[in-house]
Structure formats: C-alpha cells, structure tokens
C-alpha cells in the first residue's frame, strides 16, 4: 500500500480546497440559455415546415418566454462577473478560441432575434396591439415578410446556443468531468427537451401537445443514451476521468444525479408522457415540471462536480 499526503499552505477563497469560482449564476444561465434555444428552435422549425396554424403555442406563445429567459440569463452572467464595469470588453474583442467569447456574441445575436420573433406575432396574439409609430409598423411588415428566413437564422443560432452551453464547460481541459466533447450534444439535447417541456406546458391544444410529446420523448431517450455514453467514455479514460466518473458512481453526487436528474428528471417524465400518449390521464403540468427540474439540477450538478475534478499530480 502506498499512502500519499499532500499539504499545501494555501487557503485562497473560492480556490481551495477545491474550486468554487462559479456559483449558482452559471448553471442557472446554462439552463435558461438551453431553455430559450429549445423554445426558439421548435418555433422556427414548425414555421419552416408550414405548420404555423396547427402549432399555435409553439410558434407564438411559448417564444414570449425566450427573450425573458435570455435576459434573465444575461443578468445572471453579469452578476457572476467579478470586474463588472469592464463587461463591455467582451464586445470590443473577437476571440475565436474562447468559448466565453462565442457565448457573449451568440447571446448578442440571439436576444434581439427572439425579441423580433415575438414582436412579429404581437398583433396576432393581441389583436388590439398598436406599435404607435409608422416606422415600427413598416419594420414589422418587413419581419413578417421575411419570417421564413428569420426562422432559419433562429434555428441555426438555437443550435449554436444549445451546443455552446455545453462547450463552455467541455473546453476546460483542466476539469476532467467537463473535458468531454459529448457535453456539447448532451446540453443541446437537454436544453431542447426543457424547451419542449415548457411549450407542452403552455399549449392548450391536445393535438399539438401530442406532437410535441412525441418529439420530447425521443429527446429524452437520446439524452439517456448520451449520459450512458458519457460515463462509458470516462470509465475508459485516464485516472483523472475515472475519478470524475466515480463522483457519480458511489461518490458525493451519486444520489443527487441518479435520483433527481435521471430518475425524476428523465425516466419518470418519459413514462408519464408515454402513458399520456397511450391515452391515460396525466396531470398536464407534471411531466414538464419534472423535466425542467431535472434540467436545472443537471446543470447545477455538472457545474459543481466539474469544479471538484482535477488533474492529479
């Protein structure tokens, strides 16, 4: 047996004994970003497919949440900055190597797009809505005329935003739990699933809910598959990766991850959605609430656990 003892005289706040630099703001933002990406992707998707009239909630009502989520997410990000007054430096630099830079610019594009999208449906949703200025009315007409193009741009940026929430973490080679390229697709799928869940919750049309429920079910299955892949990859990796996986396989995060994220956040709502598709009565709010809760927990756990994992030397 070989004992090892490391003592270091350091005790820097938020760095020692393990990193806690990113608190609740980052996982909350990752959740809201993924949620907005999910809502907007499917809004654009059904417009491009010409199903606008059948998917009223998806196309018109749910997107109202997206700009709110994005602005709240941006607020959380700003809150997290420690040198707040210098935040504008993000937008005077373009650094292609920096995921954080990509994120800042993606949000800069995505937030106005989401606002334009909602604005273009204001008159349909609220018939008495009036833009008051002729210029705004003409601009609205321009957006409505080019809605299909806007839908395409929105779908592409939704994918970038969804993937980015994972890549932000996976680009950090120093944290073995995050340093896996599967995190990008996993966060994308999870974000889209939370977006779908929100739309299902809002929709009052049984047919629409059925279509969305089917898509969401597929996303949940893919997400479960990716989670299994994630751990397979870790267990086949270096000692640092194995120790990262062990946090979830008997370690500190075992119960919170497998119970809250996988069981309550994925498997249980998947079963409920299946029962609903088979015609059983399930409370309308239950599967979406579980999925949203699972998505939020997933991000909190991954961000916190990732900061604990590190290279061993």
């Amino acid at each position: 047996m070989k004992e090892e003892l490391m003592i270091s005289g350091r005790n820097i706040p938020n760095i020692d004994p393990y990193l806690t630099i990113w608190h609740w703001q980052i996982p909350l933002y990752l959740f809201l970003g993924g949620l907005a990406a999910g809502i907007l992707f499917f809004a654009g998707f059904f417009v491009v497919r010409g199903k606008e009239s059948k998917m009223q909630a998806t196309v018109k009502w749910a997107p109202i949440i997206a700009p709110i989520a994005l602005v709240l997410g941006l607020g959380a990000l700003f809150w997290d900055l420690k040198h707040k007054l210098y935040f504008w430096q993000l937008y005077t630099t373009i650094r292609l190597e920096s995921p954080m830079g990509w994120g800042a610019w993606t949000l800069m594009i995505m937030t106005p797009i989401s606002i334009l999208w909602v604005a273009s449906y204001m008159k349909e949703m609220f018939p008495r809505w009036d833009w008051k200025f002729d210029l705004l009315n003409r601009f609205e007409a321009f957006i409505i005329k080019n809605r299909i193009s806007l839908a395409w741009i929105m779908m592409i940026y939704s994918i970038i935003l969804g993937v980015y929430t994972g890549i932000l973490l996976s680009a950090f080679n120093a944290r073995p739990l995050w340093n896996t390229s599967i995190l990008g697709p996993l966060f994308l799928v999870s974000g889209f699933s939370t977006g779908l869940a929100t739309t299902i919750w809002i929709s009052k049309d049984a047919k629409e809910r059925k279509i969305l429920g089917r898509i969401d079910l597929a996303f949940i299955v893919v997400e479960l598959f990716l989670i299994i892949h994630l751990f397979m990859g870790f267990l086949a990796g270096s000692q640092a990766s194995i120790e990262a996986a062990n946090l979830f396989l008997g370690g500190t995060f075992t119960v919170s991850f497998w119970v809250y994220v996988v069981l309550l956040g994925l498997i249980f709502p998947a079963v409920l959605e299946t029962l609903e598709l088979w015609g059983y009565h399930v409370p309308k709010w239950l599967p979406p609430v579980l999925i949203l809760f699972g998505g939020l927990m997933f991000r909190f756990i991954i961000v916190e656990a990732g900061q604990i994992t590190r290279y061993i030397y």
Partner: protein, 177 residues
C-alpha cells in the same frame, strides 16, 4: 527568449520565504498568494518520501488561460510570460477554471491575478523576488534559450519533471528531482 524556472525539490526545505517575498513585492492582498509550497509525502511509515515544491503559475507554452480568455486580458509577452491586463479583465473566471494548476485567483478588486515571474524586476535584469530571497537557493530563473542562464545550467545535468504534462499545457516550471 523563453523564461522558465527550475525548482530544486531536493534543496527546498519548505520555509515559505518565497511566498512571503512575493506577497510583499507584489502587494498581494491578505489571504491570497501567487506562489505556494506543496509538501508531498508518499510511501508507508516508516519509509516515507518527502518532496517540497515551491509552485506558482507555470507560464505554459500552450496556455489554456490565454486561449479561453474572452477579452484578451490574459496574454503572453516576450519570453513566454503569461500576464493579465487588469482593465481588460471582466472577472468571468474562465481562466481560473481552465488552469490545471489552480495558479490564478480572483483579486478582491475584481480582476484575476497571478504570478508574473516578477516581469517588472526581470526587465531590470533582476531575478523574480521569490528566487532572490530563497535561503537554500533552490530556485533558478532565466532564459532557456541561453545555455549559460541559471535555469539552463540547473537543468543541464539533473533529472527533472513538470506537473501534469498530460494536460498538454507545456508548463515551464521544471522540478529537479
């Protein structure tokens, strides 16, 4: 030019003078440090092995902190030294997350701070303050491309290791073993 440091783990006694010298020289706020001493004990009693390492930023050749910085506040200057421009740093913490050596910390004033290899002294031809103050002279600093520099001579006929080479950062702190 490539500045680097060699740390003689056989000579270091873990006194912590390098830490105090750095804190004084660079006005490091109370409770924080840019360099630190790790005491690494391995083996089973009674046959134990003790290694002292005076650690700091590795000024990596392939620095992840410079790569992930969204504003370019983390940058490299001549000699491969990694620095942070305070009024460009937004304090997002990405560089802190990216460092496998946990060599960076958020300064109470908001920006991220770290070892600078005492570039302000090196430019004047002096050694970094930790090197200058070490009572056992276990720290060697200089230009790796100059075969007669202190660090090159120290590395010439000694075995050495770097920390977490598998992280791919090409660190520039060489620990003589």
């Amino acid at each position: 030019m490539r500045y680097a440091m060699a740390i003689d783990t056989k000579k270091c006694v873990g006194c912590g003078d390098c830490v105090v010298a750095c804190q004084t020289e660079n006005n490091v706020p109370h409770g924080y440090c840019r360099d630190w001493v790790v005491e690494n004990v391995t083996g089973t009693y009674p046959s134990l092995d003790l290694e002292f390492r005076s650690e700091r930023c590795n000024h990596c050749d392939n620095a992840p902190c410079v790569r992930c910085c969204p504003t370019g506040a983390s940058h490299k200057v001549e000699g491969g030294v990694v620095l942070v421009t305070h009024n460009k740093c937004i304090g997002c913490g990405a560089c802190i997350e990216s460092c496998p050596y946990d060599a960076r910390y958020p300064h109470p004033e908001g920006y991220v701070d770290k070892c600078t290899f005492c570039i302000h002294r090196v430019e004047k031809g002096q050694n970094p303050s930790c090197v200058g103050v070490c009572p056992t002279r276990c720290l060697h600093f200089g230009d790796l491309n100059d075969p007669n520099s202190d660090v090159s001579l120290a590395l010439k006929d000694r075995k050495w290791k770097v920390l977490a080479p598998e992280a791919g950062t090409k660190p520039q702190l060489y620990f003589l073993t």
